[in-house]
Symmetry: C2
Subunit: 170 residues, 2 copies
């Protein structure tokens, strides 16, 4: 069970996700993107360009909102949340690299609601790795694959702004 994956073609996963979203949401001009730092923020940045959105995406850092904040404490690399659009009445596509327990999604949604009451929040992720601990689901996912608990999927960004995903074993 431990050697299903060693590396994932994150570029292909990104292009698949982009295609699914383009097909399902042909009128994207009023769509707001919000990427969860760090992987989801990179994806949102690139997707805003590829969808030719007229406005920049938001970035969410959920460190302060995670329900395990007390255990994990604060990572040195925390970057601020920045939401450059009016959340009230917005249709938002929340973007994460990997969907796992759903706790990060819940935290990000709660953070968005601190800024206003959106009409709709959808969720997109490159990978759904199962293991849900909250009844959260993604509207758009490129790959659903079971990943053992002792493995972590990590999205990287190369110098050429391309995506790369590695599987790290604990």
């Amino acid at each position: 069970m431990t050697h299903i994956l060693d590396k994932l073609d994150a570029e292909a996963l990104y292009r698949t996700l982009l295609q699914k979203i383009t097909v399902a949401l042909p009128q994207t001009a009023s769509l707001q993107l919000a990427g969860i730092r760090s992987g989801g923020a990179w994806i949102a940045e690139r997707m805003a360009r590829d969808l030719h959105l007229p406005h920049p995406p938001g970035f969410i850092d959920v460190s302060f909102y995670r329900d395990d904040y007390a255990q994990k404490g604060l990572h040195a690399a925390v970057q601020p949340t920045s939401i450059p659009f009016d959340v009230d009445k917005a249709t938002i596509l929340l973007i994460d690299d990997v969907l796992y327990t759903g706790r990060t999604t819940r935290a990000a949604i709660n953070e968005l609601f601190d800024y206003g009451r959106p009409d709709k929040i959808m969720l997109a992720a490159l990978i759904d790795r199962g293991g849900r601990e909250l009844p959260v689901s993604a509207d758009f996912v490129s790959l659903s694959v079971f990943v053992p608990q002792d493995q972590t999927l990590v999205l990287h960004r190369t110098d050429e702004n391309l995506f790369d995903m590695t599987v790290e074993h604990a």
Copy 2:
């Protein structure tokens, strides 16, 4: 589109839901039920008996937690939330009668987290009527059916403690 449904066999939907949960979760003794008032609370009450759970279910009133509280105000019939178990580390099956926008689910989850940090929250509903506004999904659902926006599904409980569901037109 307006006459797809007039009445739903809520008893059959309840038995289907019970069966799905029994099959998927054979070891239910440590499971905690939490029903969203009013319909979900009735279902949780009955299900706790039918699953022979050793402890009573919790009841959640989301009126104060709904994100449209400011618009809707407080209903006269609000009943207190009562969680007779330790939410911390619990595996909870949250129960609602109808899953719709997902806002009630979000409110109920946030209310549960005010009591502790559960290991897992799953969601069960008799009906998923589509129209999601948040990326929420049910783990157990008896029937998925599109219901037009101007219709409301209302669960009733007869004098014999049986379920009945009506479709009300706005």
